[in-house]
């Protein structure tokens, strides 16, 4: 099946009925379609390549290898989990957008050439913005536009880079790009925008918390992880990425502390966790690339779980600010426990998925003797545990009683969270399955006595630091400015001023034209009333003007 039907095409075509199906039939198709996609991905053998000739260009819409398969497996899994979570949503447009978005993610990881990649890259942008806009409120609409503008910029950079690359090399194959040159940096910049790397990262914490409850779950899985895939494919061993990735890990962690909205907090942690992956790509060794792939795999699952937990809170309480939440464990204990499994996974707690993946990247830094990188990534792990696994659940589910008594999330939401939690746990205790699908053979043992002792020290003493200061760590009823401030405030003002200048110029030009026109009209009226055109003209004058007109006709060739 997989050999003749591209999984992305299957998902796109299969998504169309979701626009019209209603009720139980829509829900059944929402479950069956991702399972078909999962089967189709599982049926793809590594080494399969599909080539097409189009307008003289050789395209490779399907290139299957271990790297692309590892990402495709987890993409297919999260489509199923996300659809289970979204079963109660009666919004065909949102389901179709989610499916097209996921399909474009699959298409991008299977793309063997840059044109195919570009096409799916742009479909991803267009489809994903609808997951934000379907929230149907002004803030979501505006955040969606900002998201669209930044990604359109990324798309233009990618297209320019592809053209430059093609002109330089005559090739469109999507393989590791050689360093240097405009093509290299244009394509790298485009990929980094989608990876939410600073300084063009603010679209993520701006837009994701404004998306629909179920849309955020899909959004957390595809855009940034597709970017990680293309970076791993195109830019392994690029030193710049090591430091940029480490910066991302800490940037995301610091900002996660600063924000009050629980989905925005988790969005900043996407930047932080993607930072580990970007750094892993930069380290470039077989262990680092496999660690990056493993971490992308586990991250998609536990981040979806965390956002499903936060989304369930939003859905059931109508609130998402830490300052308005607290004590929800009393009526939402299942959501709380499932959220904590996601929290323990992202914190690399032993027995959970993050422990077997994140530590691979940190180990890769250690193997290369990168002490500063090792310590800074470990420090980011401290911050991750504090804000995601301690602060957010403490101020949402425990701590001060907000008086809210919402019912548990709907059954389908709990089932989706349970599937993700189960996968986080199974990967944590049996990492060999995950290691077997990684692009390079893995000679890494997560469960050694040394690793366990160090990790337990790290988490326990981080917890000590948190509880020593827990009284001052609650959310603040404020917003935290990020770099999007530059285009939201001075950028907007500059645009408004530019717009005023253009309006002024336009108005002035039109007024000048009308004034001249009116003057001409007055002159014509005056001439008509004066009878001047009707007066007797001397014969010589008439002959002269006739000659002038004939000369003009000759000069401008009107007689040709």
């Amino acid at each position: 099946m997989g050999e003749w039907l591209h999984p992305a095409l299957l998902l796109m075509l299969g998504a169309l009925p979701l626009a019209v199906l209603q009720g139980r039939s829509r829900q059944i198709w929402q479950l069956v379609l991702p399972l078909l996609v999962l089967i189709s991905v599982a049926a793809l053998p590594a080494g399969l390549t599909l080539r097409l000739e189009l307008a003289g260009l050789e395209l490779v819409p399907l290139r299957v290898d271990k790297l692309s398969l590892a990402f495709a497996y987890v993409f297919a899994l999260i489509i199923f989990i996300g659809n289970v979570f979204a079963l109660q949503v009666d919004d065909g447009a949102q389901h179709v957008a989610a499916a097209f978005y996921a399909a474009s993610g699959l298409g991008a990881v299977f793309a063997g050439d840059l044109i195919t990649l570009y096409v799916f890259w742009e479909i991803m942008m267009i489809a994903s913005v609808w997951l934000i806009w379907r929230r149907r409120r002004q803030a979501a609409y505006e955040a969606g536009f900002r998201y669209l503008i930044i990604h359109a910029l990324g798309g233009m950079l990618l297209l320019a880079g592809i053209i430059a690359y093609w002109l330089n090399t005559g090739s469109l194959a999507f393989e590791a790009l050689n360093g240097g040159g405009p093509a290299f940096y244009l394509i790298l910049a485009a990929f980094l925008i989608n990876a939410a790397a600073p300084p063009l990262h603010a679209w993520l914490p701006d837009a994701y918390p404004e998306a629909t409850v179920t849309g955020t779950v899909f959004l957390s899985a595809f855009t940034t992880k597709t970017a990680v895939y293309v970076l791993a494919r195109g830019f392994p061993g690029t030193e710049l990425l090591v430091w940029l990735g480490v910066f991302m890990t800490l940037y995301g962690v610091i900002y996660a502390f600063l924000v009050n909205d629980i989905r925005r907090l988790l969005s900043y942690h996407i930047i932080s966790q993607v930072g580990y992956m970007v750094a892993g790509v930069g380290l470039g060794s077989a262990l680092a690339i496999s660690g990056t792939t493993a971490h992308a795999f586990t991250h998609i699952l536990y981040k979806a779980l965390l956002l499903m937990g936060a989304g369930a809170v939003l859905q059931m309480t109508g609130r998402s600010r830490l300052t308005e939440l607290g004590g929800l464990y009393r009526t939402m204990p299942v959501t709380f426990v499932l959220y904590m499994i996601g929290g323990l996974s992202i914190s690399a707690f032993p027995l959970f998925s993050g422990f077997v993946s994140k530590t691979m990247i940190i180990e890769a830094a250690a193997v290369q003797g990168r002490g500063a990188i090792f310590l800074l990534m470990t420090l980011a792990g401290v911050g991750t545990f504090m804000s995601t696994t301690l602060k957010l659940p403490w101020y949402t589910f425990m701590g001060r009683d907000s008086g809210l008594r919402p019912p548990e999330a709907p059954l389908n939401m709990r089932v989706a969270m349970s599937i993700a939690a189960l996968l986080c746990f199974v990967i944590g205790i049996v990492p060999e399955w995950l290691y077997s699908i990684l692009p390079h053979p893995v000679d890494y043992q997560a469960y050694t006595a040394g690793h366990l002792i160090k990790e337990m020290q790290l988490l326990l003493f981080t917890g000590l630091g948190f509880f020593l200061l827990v009284g001052v760590l609650g959310g603040k009823d404020k917003i935290s400015l990020d770099l999007d401030w530059f285009y939201r405030v001075p950028g907007r003002h500059a645009l408004e001023r530019l717009s005023a200048v253009i309006r002024g110029l336009d108005s002035g030009a039109r007024q000048a034209f009308m004034a001249r026109f009116q003057a001409l009209e007055r002159r014509a009226t005056h001439l008509r009333l004066s009878g001047w055109p009707l007066k007797s003209w001397p014969t010589g004058s008439m002959a002269l003007w006739t000659a002038v007109v004939l000369a003009l006709l000759l000069v401008f060739g009107l007689g040709r």
Partner: protein
């Protein structure tokens, strides 16, 4: 429903036994440092690899450092009133209950 009640009861029990939970955590902290001191380091890649309890001190100091840094950045630079982007970051609660997604 039974599971929900059981989990709530379990969490309530842990909350009531807060002192016991704290003592257990402190015991685990001590144990992790003790084991680190007793077990010879598997690695010697970095100068700190052989120092018992280094990770514990690093975690505690790192946690306090991160808290200090975020407070400084927040109050010194980036915190603004909730309606700073007027009409842009409006109250997160409007229409949430009726949100279909």
């Amino acid at each position: 429903m039974k599971m929900t009640t059981a989990i709530t009861a379990l969490i309530d029990a842990l909350v009531r036994r807060g002192r016991w939970v704290r003592a257990t955590m402190i015991g685990l902290m001590g144990l992790s440092v003790l084991l680190d001191a007793l077990k010879p380091s598997h690695y010697s890649r970095f100068p700190w690899d052989g120092i018992p309890g280094f990770t514990a001190v690093f975690a505690l100091v790192g946690a306090l450092l991160l808290i200090g840094v975020y407070k400084a950045i927040g109050y010194g630079l980036v915190y603004r009133r909730a309606d700073y982007y007027a009409g842009d970051d409006e109250s997160a609660r409007d229409d949430e209950a009726s949100d279909h997604g």
